[in-house]
């Protein structure tokens, strides 16, 4: 029995204007997010995987309502929140950033940073502090951490504070933008376990943005592969690995060395000496790097097509003519 759709986007776009130096005319666009259609069900963790330049962080910021989209629709619980977040939904969508070292104001005590999301909404300070203690304990810290400054905590502890700060407004949907990328492996394991734990306890829905396919496999229910602002493939977490369809997905998978020296690792190295920012604008965005490209790939952007239940691909190889 599938649960209700909580987050839905249709053709979501974020374009940045590139202007010429003298007359400030628009000479082009940086298409950071270029038409995202996705659905996240309540209680699901969608792992959004992409390399640098894929637009995944920009998408995260748009969904967190920190950046306005250029086009498209963003629906939350059936309500259109593309341009405005209604008061009732304030605090229901929160984001956790990648860098725990810069996300906390170094001059504020942890207590001050924690209560901000509540006091800004009009909560009484005393109540806010009580809640802060509750959430500190939930993330594995204690109330003695209230009075310290960020520089006295380790990276892992800081990230826990950041997570507590996100949880304190009792959100339904959390966007996690590479929350463990700057942490050590053992700390990463702790934080991933914590996130799983909290999700179950608080009935949350996650969008987990990462460049690390292994982390995505571990924490996600569904995985979406993003390239050049578009979703190239989306499938349930096992299917992506057992039956990858998109050439980019296959290339990514091959590039991950499993920690097993007996495995014959043969990564697919992209043609030429390219850039993650190299994208072909007139057809399929992956065309330039794709070893299987055909004529049609250079002319037409493929649509995201459902190939089997719950598994969609954006590739001409799977579009029947």
């Amino acid at each position: 029995m599938a649960s209700a759709v909580l987050v839905k986007t249709l053709g979501l776009k974020k374009y940045y204007e590139v202007r010429s130096k003298f007359l400030k005319r628009i000479v082009g666009y940086v298409k950071a997010v270029d038409g995202i259609d996705m659905e996240i069900r309540k209680g699901e963790t969608l792992g959004l995987v992409g390399e640098s330049g894929s637009g995944k962080s920009t998408l995260g910021l748009v969904l967190a309502k920190l950046i306005e989209p250029t086009d498209g629709r963003y629906m939350f619980s059936g309500i259109d929140i593309t341009w405005k977040l209604p008061r009732a939904l304030r605090g229901k969508i929160r984001i956790v950033f990648q860098d725990p070292y810069s996300a906390l104001n170094p001059r504020l005590k942890i207590k001050e940073s924690l209560v901000e999301p509540l006091t800004s909404q009009g909560f009484d300070k005393k109540e806010a502090v009580e809640r802060a203690v509750e959430y500190l304990k939930l993330v594995g810290l204690s109330d003695e951490h209230l009075e310290v400054y960020p520089h006295m905590l380790s990276g892992g502890q800081r990230q826990r504070v950041v997570i507590a700060r996100a949880l304190i407004t009792e959100p339904e949907f959390m966007i996690l933008d590479e929350p463990t990328s700057m942490l050590d492996v053992s700390t990463q394991a702790q934080i991933l376990e914590l996130l799983k734990d909290i999700k179950a306890k608080k009935n949350l829905t996650y969008l987990f943005i990462t460049h690390n396919l292994a982390v995505a496999r571990y924490i996600s229910d569904t995985i979406a592969i993003m390239f050049a602002g578009q979703i190239m493939e989306i499938a349930n977490k096992s299917t992506i690995f057992t039956n990858p369809l998109h050439p980019y997905t296959k290339s990514l998978l091959s590039a991950y060395p499993p920690p097993d020296p007996t495995f014959r690792w043969l990564p697919e190295i992209p043609e030429g000496i390219g850039n993650a920012y190299d994208r072909y604008e007139h057809g399929c965005r992956y065309a330039e790097r794709c070893s299987l490209r055909r004529d049609v790939c250079l002319k037409l952007v493929p649509e995201l097509i459902e190939v089997e239940k719950g598994h969609s691909v954006r590739c001409h190889l799977y579009i029947k003519k």
């Binding site: 950033f97 999301p117 800004s120 520089h151 006295m152 950041v162």
Partner: protein
Amino acid sequence: MVSALVSAVKDLLMVMRVRYGILILTVLTISSLYTILFSPFEYDKISYNVHLPPLSHTASTWPHIFGTDNLGRDVFTRTFYAFALDISCGLTIVALSGLIGLVVGLVSGYLGGIADAVLMRLMDIVISIPGFMLAIAIAAVLGPNIVNAIMAVAIVTVPVYARLVRSVVLSTKESLFVLAAREAGLSSVRIIARHILPHVIPIFITQATMELSNAIIYIAALSFIGLGAQEPTPEWGLMISTARRYIREAWWPAVFPGLAMFLTVLSFNLIGDGLRDYMDPKKRLSMKVVE
């Protein structure tokens, strides 16, 4: 907050320069207070004891420690009354221009766009004219008195603060914790107050301390050319200006005010210098893990 301030002051006092600066300032301040309270001479009382050399005795209880000037007034008393006056002027100028500059810098830096463009062009206009020339022009237009001089100098120094504050705001605005504050739902005003201002204040205070000595020099200079304090106000620049004519007969009415001004400006510069070095990230925060 208070304990942080106390430890900051303690650290600062470890710097030699700051100690000297504070020492000089203390000596001068105490002398000034003592003089204002207890001096038997009045700063504006004219007498027949014209150009008495330093340490001359007269009928009064105190000797004329610094001698008398061309109108028989006690130079020592006048010098230290001028200390109080010049410092007050300096503080007023710094407070006025600092406040205006702070607001301009905050608005300009945070809002950007048209507001930034307009305000910064305004600042550019002010700063493109040599400070002293502009101060003279403004003071001349407003009329030669000390209040107008204060306003003139204040106007001229606003851009210094505005630019400084704006640059700090611009860099802090991009920090992740400001984005996080926005995400937490804070209004722009609260973000500026809680997240940006604390980063602005230390640099602002350092600059203000340096500007204080500049302000004193400006006021003295304007008074020197007749556009600031007027007779019989005891003001260093004015005193030096008057004493210029008789300098071959009596050096003391010019030298002592000058010396006092030099020492005052020096002490503020030493303190400000020490403050600026202290603000440097040499004071790296230690990585202590709380278990």
